[in-house]
Amino acid sequence: MIPRPVKRYRTPEYPVRLEVLADPDLLLRNVPGNWARNAVLMGALSALLATQSCRPAEKTGGAVKLDPAAVAVAPVFEHGEGRGSTGCVAVAPPSFLSEEEALVVITEELTKAGLEMSGKNVVLEGVVIPPPTMRVRINDKEEEVTYGRPEPLAMDLVDGKHAIGVEYVSMPDYAVLGGGQSLSSVQSYDFRRVAAGVAARVKEQATGIRFGTFYDPMVGVGPDWLGNAGNPKDQMAAWKKACDEAQAESKRLLRLQVKDFVDWLKGQGAI
């Protein structure tokens, strides 16, 4: 007996979740009998379904409607090097801007521009990110192996009303979005390159969305704090201060990326 791959498999004749959630009334129309007789349960059902709905909102009158068959992808606006390394030979350790912190900055700026980025982790239909690779030694031979599988791109934030989505390339995203993974103690990062790769893939594969990609500016923590060598408490405080300054600078640079994106959207007539 040997494994026998399936050559063709018919698409199942029942929908995927996103298709059903685009019509939440389907779930409200078809309720188990016991639930329909329970007012509390029906109230909870309506409220909970509202949080899951991904039905596209109506377009606003003022905005230029995007052709559903078209896609508009902003260039990656360069503010911040977005490059560096961690590990034994890295002398200036980088400061990463977490996904949560970055999304706060991005949301603030886009909200100021009149967008409502209420969609979180929304899958962008048709866009597939290839599986990440790494070089490993297997049986004394170095091989490039893929780990994981091709995954759909889930946009960090989406304004459904304006069909605008954005993705922030953070450190945990790095390998998954095509940055590569090192197995040695040194990991190098080039966030700008990865962000550009994501933008190119969206341009190639998506439709019906205006899309922006931002990246971690990856501001380095300079060596100045080492001047406080001596008292460990002072050294710790100097280190923390240097990290805070690097974080603040990262946020400033990210804000500039988002502002450029807003200008681009205005130029597009999208907002």
């Binding site: 026998r4 199942p12 004749e13 779930l27 349960l41 899951q52 599986p131 759909p152």
Partner: protein
């Protein structure tokens, strides 16, 4: 395992996650060490009170040593207890024998009833062998009638399956698929693996893989000496094997862990062009290792079983969606279904099985 090692494992686990760390007691038969389990659970709860960790505990038992006293403890300390039971007498007594070779159906059925009376949501695990395959549908119907709501069917992949026995299995899975449809239409609430997982692999195709076990990534197994492995099956390979990825004292060897994970995630040669690869369980590294000796080689029996279950699951999905069956729709498409279902039962004095 000594209590000191078990406590070290708790401390180690608590540092791996900010959330609740799941501790599963494996054997052999874990209830042979009830005293140790009690001490470990109490240690975990003490750590929680001190704010140095959060835990949830689970045991899978063959039921022989399950009693009121232990269930009192499990309920008091919120320990989930799952029980292995293969269904009707012909199936149960075929492989689940006492040490002296005696049958266990009559011995264990009262224990299963006791468990369900105290823990109505307890999982029941059924293992299918070539010679018990003919009883599969009848066994699951029996367990459902008994009140089991969480039914987990596993195949003994290492058994001597033949084309003939696989044919019987296919017929039985088709029968089970009909029962799934019937039970759903009757409004019965249940979880029946593997069909639920297979339906989910289509319904949630965008994020299905996030739910999967990733070898050496989400779980670790600790052997009695405190050595760490990527999954429970690998503990038997021993600390000198390539599968040992560290120990409680010195921690995880990250390079080893990454290598094992990368190896298990390599695209399996015969699967690269398979049309159902994204919905298949071929990525279970420990299962592959158990059956083929390699984490990235797939057992032909697993390949056949996956194809059979997928076909039945999609038939179930098609049938129930075409009928717009409310229970099916909410169970599979409404992420809030577990909460709503609990709310329903909380307000229902006579919860249905």
């Amino acid at each position: 395992m000594s209590l000191a090692t078990a406590r070290a494992a708790l401390q180690f686990g608590s540092r791996l996650t900010e959330g609740s760390c799941g501790i599963v007691f494996f054997g052999g038969e874990p209830l042979l060490h009830k005293g140790l389990i009690r001490d470990v659970v109490r240690s975990g709860r003490d750590m929680e009170r001190e704010g140095s960790g959060r835990f949830h505990f689970k045991i899978t038992t063959n039921g022989l040593l399950l009693d009121e006293e232990f269930l009192d403890f499990a309920i008091r300390e919120d320990v989930l207890v799952a029980m292995s039971f293969d269904g009707v007498q012909e199936a149960q007594d075929r492989h689940r024998r006492t040490v002296d070779g005696g049958p266990t159906y009559d011995l264990l059925l009262p224990r299963l009833r006791l468990l369900l009376a105290r823990r109505p949501y307890a999982s029941v695990l059924t293992v299918v062998n070539p010679d018990t395959a003919p009883f599969l549908a009848r066994s699951l119907a029996f367990l459902q009638a008994l009140g089991c709501r969480y039914l987990i069917v596993s195949l003994n992949y290492a058994a001597a399956w033949t084309e003939r026995s696989l044919g019987v299995l296919k017929e039985q899975l088709a029968e089970l698929g009909k029962l799934y449809v019937q039970w759903t239409q009757e409004g019965r609430k249940f979880y029946l693996s593997p069909f639920e997982v297979k339906i989910s692999s289509h319904v949630n195709r965008h994020c299905h893989r996030k739910e999967r076990c990733e070898l050496a990534q989400r779980q670790l197994s600790v052997d009695p000496q405190g050595y760490l492995y990527p999954c429970v099956q690998f503990t038997k390979a021993g600390p000198d094997s390539a599968w040992c990825i560290g120990d409680l004292a010195s921690g995880i060897d990250e390079a080893k862990r990454a290598r094992i994970h990368a190896e298990s995630e390599r695209v399996k040669t015969p699967c690269a062009d398979c049309a159902i690869v994204d919905r298949c369980n071929n990525s279970c590294g420990c299962l592959n290792w158990q059956t083929t000796g390699s984490v990235h080689e797939v057992s032909p029996v697993l390949c056949r079983y996956e194809q059979m279950t997928l076909a039945v699951a999609d038939r179930i999905g098609k049938t129930l969606y075409a009928k717009r069956d409310p229970l099916f729709l909410h169970k599979h498409y409404n992420a809030a279904y577990p909460v709503l279902s609990l709310l329903e039962e909380a307000g229902d004095e006579t919860p249905q099985p």
